[in-house]
Amino acid sequence: MNDMESAPHHARTRILPLALLMIAMALLGGCAGVLSSYGDRSGHSSSVVDFLYPKGTPFEPVEPGTPRIPLPARVGLMFVPSSSSPPGLTVANREQLLEKVRHAFREQDFIERIEIVPDSYLRRGGGFDNLEQIARMHGLDLVALVSYDQISQRNETGASFLYWTIIGAYTIPATRNQVSTFVETTVFDIRSHALLLRAPGQDQRDLQSTGVRSDERRETLARASFNAAVDDMIPKLDSAIREFAMRAGEDGRAELYDRRSGDAWRGKSGGGSIGTWELALLLGALALMLASRRR
């Protein structure tokens, strides 16, 4: 009888530690699973093509003829609207980046003024209709659209098995965070809808981090990568603008004309001229010469 009563008791005492161990394993596995998802990938992009030609837009062939562009030009600068912004890129960051692009334009003598257009003025898939509204509002000739495509990826290295110890997730940098960014500025003539120039910039970087700090590090990395891609784009944009102003008229891409005189645009030009007081000085010198001769 005693033996019969003690059998279930023994079974219970054997099952209980086993059950506790399994629960503990499951909890630990859950924690580690949260930290190490064996790699994930996310992307954020804003596409010029989607903005200018949203789905369902009927195909309209570009009107034949060379676009006529008045110079010095008035340019609007804006980010192409997107449903999601790269992680860690705040509105202030975006404005700073646009300021950098604006600086590249401002240094050119054929740009009269360049205005940063707030995101709120643009709607997703707004197309040229949206751009024309903005151009009328600000008196713009050209628009410079900044688009981006950023992909971030997270992978665990071999050492990530130590995340199972929990302490490892806080101390072992076994998560590899990778971010690739591609940015591009495309400049369009609003009247003719013609693409005038484009300049790309790209950056790729990675950083190892602990499991728990991976998200935070990925945000920092995304922001740094965006900045670096814009920095990579600026000199290319600078030379693309310069090349456009010098060659566009010659290779027939566009007809550039001086907005003040209506004549063909010559680039930075000027004249050498003396003033009236210099003329008076010369006249004085001549008079002195004549007077001295008479004496």
Partner: protein, 191 residues
């Protein structure tokens, strides 16, 4: 070449006919550049066209003018300098020096101002002519005149210097012109 006043006068008279031809051609080109846009396009010192071998622009760019006041002021200045040179019996030599200073000044402008695409006007050369005449004159008058030019150039380089024209005035042309005139004058004096 004679050294006495009579010899100088004879030399000056001999140089008068070519001087008149050069002066009338310059005035004609300057006026043509004002009223016929095609002439301006053909004469203006333009970097791109020069690179394609249109070397005459090294000279003609100085004769092209942007508008009537621009041409009037520069041609009046050229006339006064020509009268001064004639009084000093150096008009012929000044014209020959100008033919040398014009391309030197054009090349200097293209090198000094890589972003400058086009230039038109006589004032750079006028500064060169004034410096040339003063260095040739020598003495305290020459030194005082050169000092005056240096002061004027310094004044021009100060920020906020008022420019009287409706187009950007290339003040670098004045500086480069004065320096080239000085060097050409010194070279000729030694020669």
């Amino acid at each position: 070449m004679g050294t006495g006043p009579a010899a100088g006068r004879t030399g000056a008279d001999a140089g008068l006919a070519p001087a008149l031809i050069v002066a009338s051609t310059s005035i004609a080109l300057a006026l043509a550049s004002l009223w016929w846009p095609g002439a301006f396009d053909l004469l203006v010192l333009e970097r791109g066209q020069l690179a394609r071998g249109q070397l005459w622009r090294l000279w003609s760019g100085h004769l092209a003018h942007i508008d009537a006041p621009h041409a009037a002021l520069n041609l009046a200045g050229a006339g006064l300098l020509a009268l001064i040179a004639r009084r000093r019996h150096e008009l012929d030599a000044l014209l020959r020096a100008s033919a040398l200073m014009m391309p030197l000044l054009s090349v200097a402008l293209l090198f000094l101002m890589p972003s400058q695409q086009a230039y038109a006007g006589l004032s750079g050369l006028l500064h060169g002519c004034a410096a040339w005449l003063l260095i040739r004159r020598g003495g305290w008058i020459g030194a005082a005149g050169l000092l005056l030019i240096a002061l004027k150039l310094l004044l021009e380089s100060l920020p906020g210097y008022p420019v009287q024209h409706g187009f950007p005035v290339v003040l670098e042309a004045h500086r480069a012109g004065a320096l080239i005139g000085l060097l050409v004058g010194l070279f000729r004096k030694r020669g």
